[in-house]
């Protein structure tokens, strides 16, 4: 333990457990501790054996430790140098300290014991993470030496190569990967005439993308070497070999045997089974299997004539797999849980922790760790997602293990992690022209669409008009009540009068609840007070530039306040979150300051978007993820740039999504836009397509100016009130039509987002979620023949 890396609190703790009172001077403490540690190394422990003496309050000690664990985790993520770097050593020292400290936690009750064991697991995890880093960096150093001729300017390609070798080496020790080149392995599976899909070839091909599908056929094998198993593919016939940069998409699989970089003929594909994350089979003209590796790269093999099932069976004998389940349905994606082998002592210890309950995790764990080097954030998410995924399918008694992940603040929803993967680029047909914006819904059309009872008889028609042209301001007051669900579309005039009456009573009832609260009562109602304070602050700064809310003592501010306060009583769990006042403001204006109508319309609006405001941010994260997915499909070039700039979390679109562009457009445009979104035409996620449309419009600026993280944020923030709404809407619709046309080749997730029905193979796969894997396999092969 490097005592210089410990802070004051940690030093005094270390001294305290050795029975020495804290001192004022940090340097003094360091030197004393250094001396003590030296004695301890010589075998004379000075540790106070009665650990309870040193720690007064277990609960607060646990809290401290959790905090430290989080800090160290973040430190590790930020390590840039090798194991001799300051950062690495700091993290190492702190981790060592923490280990001692947790070790001495006198946990008595069950909860504390649980916390303690979770802490230990967290520590262990971080240790592995650091070890993984250390071995990676070492390997990179050697690689640099080996490639003495390589120029630093070669960029990404060189980097990829490095990480490729690194990954293999760190998994199996530095000598093996070279060994596996020469070593004659055992053949597990051999298949001639398997093609590999060159995706970027497709992109660069002629306009008619269907003709441009060029595949390279070759020999596919599964090889077992002394320490690792590989899926190998060697081209047998090939006229033009793609340029190196086109192979970025299959980065880790690509490996050069020859020293000369231009010697393309020697390129083959190797996938270490240990780095396989999942695979998926599909039939799209040919039988194909796409293999996703832990680093996010994807390789697709096409089986010309031979049945794919033999290959899959071979894989299954080597791997532990599990079907990915989302929304209680299998997605067709088979997750690789680990290799079937093992005697590695490390795996044993992990196994004891039962983080991976079903089988020896073997090198999966190591492959996670080695991936940190390449992509620390995504890797961490993905890893924990896998952990929680496994945990969710486990029995409740072992459930607390999930807290390990939570301790590190990285727990993800089980269905989220795949969103971080990069779907293969799909070539989209050209964007079709769509008709320009139409006229707004006018009074006559609207009232004529009602029958004598006052029912709107052609809801869809009315919605369509609104989708294409919005609605005249004079009837917004009525129309919005339908769009926001206050009135059902098929309600009669009489029913609506009833609704008005009932909802007024209901509103008044809830309003009285907060209005009657005495200051004394409020003084003991923390949460309520917090909401109230925030509302008071935000009402005062909501749209004050509009005449409707301008000036001191404006009555409308009171109404804004009342409606928001009543909403707190209506939905106390959500309460008030910043951004809500923005959503209410236009509604209150349109409803002519009528509190009751505004309130219920606001409730309707909130029902659509309340997940945006959740404390855990799952709703926002999902939307940002979904947006990223769509952007990847529609504008891979921009996505690529964002990824390079550490911006693929799409965080710069946060404001757009949270308050549905309220801050991006002038007031009248906001109303026009919201009406369009409330029609749910053409799909519920149309707002994401609007984001894509706006970004697509900015992509040249962002890419050409080489904007980085902050510039992108600044640029997007500055678009405020400069976006052409009509253009954004038509482009978004055009993109929708474009994707619809490309639907069969789209990722399931994209199809799901846009409400397209999923292509026939998937449908078969997901019909019977209870079918055993074998049956599913059978169904598959039948479908293929």
């Amino acid at each position: 333990m490097d005592v210089t890396k410990l802070d004051e609190e940690e030093l005094s703790y270390e001294l305290r457990v050795r029975g020495i009172a804290a001192m004022n001077d940090v340097n003094e403490m360091r030197s004393v501790l250094r001396g003590l540690l030296r004695i301890e190394v010589e075998g004379n422990s000075l540790m106070n054996t009665d650990s309870t003496v040193s720690v007064v309050d277990v609960k607060s000690e646990i809290k401290t430790c959790v905090k430290k664990l989080q800090i160290i985790n973040a430190m590790i993520d930020n390590i840039q140098g090798d194991r001799y770097s300051e950062q690495y050593r700091s993290a190492d020292a702190k981790l060592c300290h923490l280990m001692n400290r947790v070790d001495k936690l006198a946990a008595v009750d069950k909860r504390d014991q649980n916390d303690r064991s979770n802490l230990l697991k967290g520590i262990l995890f971080l240790m592995r993470k650091m070890e993984g880093m250390a071995s990676n960096t070492n390997v990179i150093e050697t690689n640099n030496q080996n490639q003495n001729g390589g120029t630093a300017g070669a960029g990404t390609v060189v980097l990829y190569e490095k990480t490729t070798t690194t990954e293999m080496n760190s998994t199996y020790g530095s000598s093996e990967s070279t060994a596996s080149d020469e070593e004659v392995g055992t053949e597990y599976f051999v298949q001639q005439g398997v093609a590999i899909k060159s995706l970027s070839k497709l992109l660069k091909g002629s306009k008619n993308h269907k003709n441009a599908e060029t595949h390279y056929t070759g020999l596919l094998r599964i090889m077992k070497y002394r320490n690792a198993k590989f899926i190998e593919w060697k081209p047998t016939e090939m006229s033009i070999f793609p340029d190196i940069d086109e192979w970025n998409i299959v980065d880790t699989g690509y490996k050069q045997n020859g020293k000369n970089k231009n010697d393309r003929n020697s390129i083959d594909i190797k996938i270490n089974l240990a780095t396989m994350k999942s695979y998926k089979m599909k039939k799209h003209k040919k039988h194909q299997i796409s293999i996703l590796q832990t680093n996010g790269s994807l390789v697709t093999f096409l089986f010309e004539s031979s049945p794919i099932s033999d290959f899959v069976t071979a894989l299954k004998t080597l791997l532990h797999t599990e079907k990915e389940i989302r929304h209680h349905r299998p997605t067709g994606v088979i997750l690789v849980m680990g290799e079937r082998q093992d005697s590695d002592p490390l795996c044993q210890s992990i196994k004891e922790l039962k983080i991976f309950p079903d089988q020896p995790p073997t090198s999966t764990v190591w492959s996670f760790i080695s991936g940190f080097q390449n992509n620390p954030v995504e890797k961490t998410y993905e890893t924990f997602a896998k952990i929680s995924d496994v945990l969710l399918t486990r029995t409740p008694d072992t459930r607390p293990d999930q807290e390990v992940a939570e301790l590190l603040n990285r727990a993800e929803e089980d269905d989220e992690y795949t969103m971080l993967d990069h779907p293969p680029p799909t070539v989209l047909p050209p964007r079709p022209a769509v008709k320009s914006r139409g006229n707004p819904l006018d009074q006559t059309t609207f009232y004529l669409s009602m029958n004598e009872e006052g029912r709107i008889i052609n809801e869809d028609y009315i919605k369509k008009i609104i989708f294409h042209g919005g609605c005249e301001n004079s009837i917004r007051h009525e129309v919005w009540k339908y769009l926001l669900g206050y009135y059902p579309w098929n309600s009669t005039r009489e029913q609506r009068i009833n609704i008005d009456r009932q909802q007024k009573t209901e509103y008044e009832r809830m309003k009285v609840q907060w209005m009657n609260m005495s200051p004394d009562q409020i003084s003991r109602f923390n949460k309520y007070r917090d909401h109230k304070n925030l509302i008071d602050k935000d009402v005062y700064r909501t749209d004050r530039t509009l005449d409707f809310y301008a000036g001191e003592g404006n009555e409308n501010l009171v109404k804004l306040h009342n409606v928001l306060m009543t909403y707190v009583m209506y939905n106390f769990d959500l309460g008030y979150v910043q951004g809500m006042s923005d959503l209410l403001s236009p509604i209150l204006m349109i409803m002519n300051s009528n509190e009751v109508e505004s309130f219920w319309c606001f409730v309707g609006f909130m029902n659509r978007v309340n997940t945006n405001f959740e404390l855990k941010q799952t709703g926002m994260k999902k939307q940002l993820n979904d947006l990223h997915y769509l952007l990847t499909t529609v504008s891979p070039k921009l996505e690529n740039h964002l990824k390079k700039m550490d911006s693929s979390n799409m965080y710069f679109c946060f404001r757009w999504l949270l308050v549905l562009f309220k801050r991006e457009f002038i007031h009248s445009d906001v109303m026009r836009l919201w009406e369009v979104l409330w029609t749910d035409i053409p799909c519920a996620n149309f707002h994401l397509l609007i984001c894509v449309a706006i970004l697509d419009n900015e992509k040249d600026t962002i890419i050409n100016e080489n904007f980085g993280l902050t510039e992108i944020l600044k640029h997007v923030n500055n678009l405020c009130e400069r976006i052409d709404l009509d253009k954004a809407l038509t482009t978004a619709y055009s993109i929708y039509e474009q994707l619809k046309e490309a639907q069969p080749s789209l990722q399931d997730s994209v199809n799901e987002l846009l409400g397209f029905s999923i292509s026939h193979t998937e449908t078969i796969l997901s019909i019977d979620s209870n079918s055993r894997e074998d049956d599913y396999e059978k169904a598959l092969s039948m479908n293929y023949t």
Binding site: D7, E8, I62, K63, V66, K67, Q70, I71, A74, M75, D77, N78, E86, Q87, S90, V377, E406, N409, R410, A411, D530, N533, L534, K537, D538, R541, T542, D543, R544, T545, V577, Q578, G579, S581, D582, N612, F613, L615, K616, Q617, M620, K621, L624, D646, S647, N649, Y651, F652, F654, R655, L658, V659, R663, G708, L709, T710, L713, K714, N717
Partner: protein
């Protein structure tokens, strides 16, 4: 004369909702104040070029908003439950100084300083957390209903290794310039080995027109 380097300092402003973060930022950068700010959603930032001890420095003041913000989602959640998950670590990463703001009329915002400080340290994880430059601003001193005394604020700053403390009014431009000068200076000291900043070639314009730049005339080479 030693070659002056172009420097970009990254400053993060944190503090409870409505303590005046946006106002301070705007007063400093644009010399403007308005009562009509909106609650910040997401993150926002402004940049300004200043001279600090004979060096041209671009200050980039970032302001992640409280409330529904993944940067600081739930630090206020009950103790031990702080499971905010950051999407935006990148915004904190590489910060050179962190400004903690409270409202002198709001004891609650003063109490939150600890939480903001912790959050920053966790998110940004500076290599030397004990000596990372924080500057504390007690804003809104123009208001009559003051509720946090200077002494109390100073004591807190003392207890954290003697953080610099300023009492400011963004509205009346009291102490704002001075505070940011200290912020810039401390941030610069943090960057002991000043990194070259090449990614913003257009950020620094030596037009010689502003008094800030005059003393450095002629020194417009990128290195």
């Amino acid at each position: 004369m030693a070659t002056r380097k172009k420097v970009l300092l990254k400053v993060i402003i944190l503090g409870d909702s409505s303590v005046g973060k946006t106002s301070l930022m705007n007063q400093y950068v644009n010399k403007k104040f308005t009562n009509q700010y909106k609650a910040t959603i997401g993150a926002d930032f402004l940049t300004k070029e200043v001279m600090v001890d004979d060096r041209i420095v671009t200050m980039q003041v970032s302001k992640p908003a409280p409330g529904p913000n993944p940067l600081c989602a739930s630090i206020w959640d009950t103790a031990g439950q702080e499971r905010f998950q950051s999407l935006g670590v990148a915004f904190y990463r590489g910060a050179d100084c962190c400004v903690l703001v409270f409202d002198v009329t709001s004891p609650g915002s003063f109490k939150s300083l600890d939480g903001w400080r912790d959050e920053f340290l966790i998110q940004a994880s500076p290599s030397d957390p004990d000596h990372f430059p924080f500057v504390v601003l007690g804003n809104k001193v123009d208001l009559d209903n003051r509720a946090v005394s200077t002494k109390r604020a100073q004591q807190w700053c003392q207890s954290k290794n003697g953080l610099p403390y300023f009492e400011t009014s963004a509205k009346e431009a009291v102490n704002v310039e001075q505070a940011f000068k200290t912020i810039a200076r401390n941030a610069l000291a943090q960057e002991s080995d000043v990194e070259l900043y090449n990614e913003f070639p257009d950020q620094i314009k030596l037009d010689g027109g502003s008094s800030d730049n005059r003393s450095s005339g002629g020194d417009n080479c990128a290195c």
